[in-house]
Symmetry: C2
Subunit: 342 residues, 2 copies
Amino acid sequence: MSTAPGGHPPPHAPTLADLAREAGTSRSTASRALSGRGYVSPEARDRLFAAAERLGYVPNASARTLKQRRSRVVGVIVSDLGNQFYARLAAGIEQILRERGYHMVIVGDNSDGVEELTAARTFLAMHAPGVIITPGAPDATAFLLRRGLPVVEVDRRMSEQSCDAVVIDNVRGGRVAVDHLLSLGHRRIAHLGVDTDWTSDAGRLEGYRQAHRAAGIPIDERLVLRIASHDPSAEARIVELLSRESPTAVFAANNILAQQAWRAIRTRGLALPGGVSLVGFDDVQWMEMVSPAITVVDQPTFELGRRAAALLLRRLEEPGSAPTVELLQPSLLVRGSTAPPA
Amino acid sequence: MSTAPGGHPPPHAPTLADLAREAGTSRSTASRALSGRGYVSPEARDRLFAAAERLGYVPNASARTLKQRRSRVVGVIVSDLGNQFYARLAAGIEQILRERGYHMVIVGDNSDGVEELTAARTFLAMHAPGVIITPGAPDATAFLLRRGLPVVEVDRRMSEQSCDAVVIDNVRGGRVAVDHLLSLGHRRIAHLGVDTDWTSDAGRLEGYRQAHRAAGIPIDERLVLRIASHDPSAEARIVELLSRESPTAVFAANNILAQQAWRAIRTRGLALPGGVSLVGFDDVQWMEMVSPAITVVDQPTFELGRRAAALLLRRLEEPGSAPTVELLQPSLLVRGSTAPPA
DNA sequence: CTGTTAGCGCGTTCAG
DNA sequence: CTGAACGCGCTAACAG
């Protein structure tokens, strides 16, 4: 009799030992039967499965992790779960992980290096099989790598040492955006970027420069604005740029900045694209819904997440192989917010 | 000498036993020192902390969970991480959890009952201290409750048994939206809802009915449309409703339906709000950016997540208390998409 | 094909 | 205040 008298929450969750007793086998046979590896006679197997069913057996993940020194829960660190970009990235990661029998524990650092390191420690403590991170600093990656945990950097690369990564071809994205504007005849193109040392933004800026260089057009550095991530005066600063420097076009290097630029343009009372043209980076919902719709460099965000997860899982299977960097291509969606300058 | 010769990934992560050896104490003393509970002399304590620092000791979470029969990782199940609503909800949950030293493992079922149950089993296996769920069916909650795991249902209540929950006052939200339209003079108001048995949508529909009843206006049931979650013909069906029934206003009961309604209105070539008025539910970015901006019943999504997490943590501290249901109030944001009928 | 044995790393008695 | 001893539930040897 192992069921509780009242039928209420049983005294303890059934363990392998309970199963074994019920089925008249040893614990190891039960283990082999349920985990699928190792030989076990069909009859014993059936009895064990029946017992598992009857008792509502659920294997204890911690015990398994303790023994195997590796869990099935991969760690994920993103800058900000509230941002659509990171949310979609996470959704992509989660999808692949779940398909393959893994799970994810996710933490949002707020682009804060200390939080990143704390999360890294946690993942180490949990014996995560690996970690996927949108790094804000190189430290967390370095820490994990040093301790032997596989890391995939996604969206940007921050690690000094080489590790797996999957990123967008940001230089190309920036290049394509600005080429588009230049070909429309723009010569005073503002660049709105984030004030970080992220490779993503650096790449987009580099693309901006390359495009100018290729066209033989000098860059007026007063048009290049760097705005901190949660700067409350962002919109005001863009308004000011608009009025002081009179750019004929604006390239906003992420979806937040694009939104702020869009607002600033309204605030300033400029017509779009009549008064100024706007190109964004990272297509999000509103960009297609406003009128005119926003021309944008689209990036495969969901796919970025999927690839990162797939890459991590691959490394788990082949630990030896050389670090891989996957480069995903962005694509320009020309919509109504860009036109030749007045 | 316990450091590895090459300084490369050490043979194994340092354990409490290593610390104890380094500091010349026993394992249990080391345990007490690091976990903070239990007596230990200051000198021993210092030596142990120093050793921990030096060796880069990180406690093994699985071992701890195994021993204590409870992890620090709460399970979270949401319908769709890619939907802004759920993403913000998750962000709220994560914030509170992290503040309090917990983490979250999140899975997106696609409103699929089987996936929900699978996830529930996983959380049970992981010995999660509790689970937060946006339920699509009552089964997962029932399963977890039966096994003694605290559950908080969020956004909608599906459980037959009573359990903690935090939801929006959806009846009120629907009521307020439709009252607004009625007071503008609308008499033919379409209702767009999801084809599920979720209490959230049922509540909004109930609010719609209440408002009509209170105003003494009969409802033309042909104006009440139910659309399945990922119905590809959603927009087409709305277009059809628009042309066949000629409502003067539309109440779309979630952000997806609002978007589809907005598109349908454009497709149909109707002026907004001249040809038809539109009220949404759940304020998202684009609603404020399009023109005219969309009148909407706003709900505190992020706060919903925070409350759910806080409620779960409270229950962990006081397991005995009666189930709590928190009701958060929505608020109507009147914008440009509503006006008196032509 | 199966059972016995021996830990995985930690927290928690219980003597000292 | 400290250490010795045990067990959480599972799996990986190794005999049989």
